[in-house]
Symmetry: C2
Subunit: 349 residues, 2 copies
């Protein structure tokens, strides 16, 4: 596996959030649980008065402010992070969203969510979140206009693209090394003796798709294999099914299909097996990208490039700690290496 261009962004130091004392700090000082701190400051919640007094004393000592809205009007900080997503159909993204929510909650930060199907809807969501004074935005949607990024910069709001390349704008990014992932797939297919590769593309405007395709195509050429036949699958299961049907009509017929994500690959697998009676990997190899949980289920048992989701989320949150509240900080870009997972949808090398 050629993973020379992989770079995981170097060593990270776990840093304290810059948002001031949290309820966890108050809990520690008062010697109570976070849930007790929470009850102390929630109107109407039941709490022992002696315990409440101890919690209030600890909060005062740490200058922990209780009313988040009043605090954010004064400080222009809301302890809220916006999460702008393109959709939740691909199971990779619900897992990412849940991972961010769990970890942001642990840091006493709230999460405001927005789903947006296109670049204009993303801009609408970003502006709505700016009016609510989110401290930072994590964007997993595939497109965001430079105008919307500029709005954020002027508002002092840090933007981090998750698994999206950033070209012109001032935003930071954390992504899987998609080029290296595409190259690793080309190397594996070549090593297994496949000779007629095809590529099922995701959304044309998504950097993930462009990078995976470029890595795959370039490495095939370096290994003197033909350029892949390309069909679009639009990053959906149904798109994968249709792309497989079209690829089966081409001559010469491909013997290996690399799909830009797992759910398209599952559509390809189902179509080859159930609509055309073909055997995978004997008649044709299928490879995906993501390693969503169901890629490992025996119905699919899909060779794929694993995105190290938890690592990517941690790196994003470290970046958020570093950059939040510093609108002048230069953007930072991190590439996280993926990992080729070999299963039975490809032959052994």
């Amino acid at each position: 596996m050629n993973d020379a261009p992989f770079d995981d962004g170097g060593p990270k130091s776990r840093r304290r959030s810059v948002s001031g004392p949290t309820s966890a700090d108050v809990a520690r000082l008062a010697g109570v649980s976070r849930s007790t701190v929470s009850r102390t400051f929630t109107p109407g919640a039941s709490i022992d008065p002696v315990t409440a007094a101890r919690v209030r004393a600890a909060a005062e000592e740490l200058r922990y402010s209780v009313d988040p809205l009043a605090r954010s009007l004064i400080s222009r900080r809301s302890d809220t992070v916006g999460l702008v997503m393109g959709g939740l159909e691909n199971p990779f993204y619900p897992a990412v969203a849940a991972g961010f929510m769990e970890r942001l909650q642990q840091r006493d930060l709230r999460v405001m969510c927005h789903v947006a199907a296109d670049i204009e809807a993303v801009a609408d969501g970003v502006r709505a979140m700016l009016r609510y004074r989110v401290d930072a935005l994590i964007v997993t949607a595939s497109g965001m206009s430079n105008a919307a990024v500029d709005d954020c910069r002027r508002a002092g709001v840090t933007v981090i693209f998750f698994n999206r390349a950033v070209t012109l704008s001032a935003a930071s990014s954390v992504q899987t090394d998609n080029v290296a992932g595409g190259r690793a797939v080309a190397d594996h297919l070549a090593a297994c003796g496949y000779a007629r590769p095809a590529y099922v593309a995701g959304l044309a405007n998504a950097s993930t798709n462009r990078d995976r395709q470029a890595g795959f195509t370039d490495r095939l050429a370096e290994r003197r294999l033909p350029a892949p036949r390309v069909e679009s699958g639009g990053y959906t299961y149904e798109g994968g099914c249709d792309a497989a049907t079209r690829l089966l009509r081409t001559k010469p017929r491909p013997d290996a299909i690399f799909c830009a994500n797992d759910i398209m690959a599952m559509g390809v697998l189902d179509t080859l097996r159930h609509a055309h009676g073909l055997s995978v990997p004997d008649d044709m190899a299928v490879v995906g990208f993501d390693d969503v949980p169901m890629a490992g289920w025996p119905s699919f048992d899909l060779t794929t490039v694993r995105q190290r989701r938890n690592r990517m989320i941690e790196v994003t949150l470290d970046l958020l700690d570093d950059l939040r509240g510093d609108a002048e900080a230069p953007p930072v870009h991190r590439l996280i290496p993926g990992r080729l997972i070999l299963r039975s949808s490809t032959r052994s090398p």
Copy 2:
């Protein structure tokens, strides 16, 4: 299909949100797009000054308030709805979350999200959201304490449980008629001639699980079929796999397995076929609940009870419009009929 107890809550009138004028109202009056209204009130966003003046005049005429945080400190209303979820592993819930986000965004409401693995974490999330003054809470998590519901009532925040029964508390609920769904599965298996039923249970404390099991068991008894052998699958794919392995060891071996959700049923299917070489539906029938998209994929082609997700979301939002801002309103409970979807994981009747 016996769906006598089904009740879809009667006719609904589409009502205006009670939250006052929205940016859509301003856009309409000014004759511009919502995105233009949004840009007008976003510091730093580019906008033609003449257009901006027209938008400001329209906003003033409608008494549309611009700063949501200032507005919510005064009005104790944030135009934010909290969404408290148990997790996103079951693909039914990401689809529900995306559906709520899309529709709430269309109504100019923000969505604050929280994932919580247990009842204590749910209470923490609810209290955090109360401090941020959400207007209402939609809860898809399986458990919420009465204390947390009471906190909400005292704070004047409407709570609606989505697909959860409510027993003691003051919260409203919208759910699939899970009892009728379980009964419909029993009727179908009986009609197909299956005689040794089994049930793979979800979480023991989830009302969805209790109701599906009760409907299934009661209807089997009415039809003079044996009580189902029960194994727990914990609502996960892996739990379904393990439950199938245990069921195969019982004597007499079951000939039909009803699972309390689809992902457990997919685990059962994969285990029967790939680990034990059994044929579905010839050797054994498998039935799920939810009708997630992949239940229809040819690798599974699962007979299941469809939850009418979009209808449930619409009914929930109608209820929210009716109840929001009225803490004294009595709780409302809506049952939405499910629908048995016949596929090839069961024989024909």
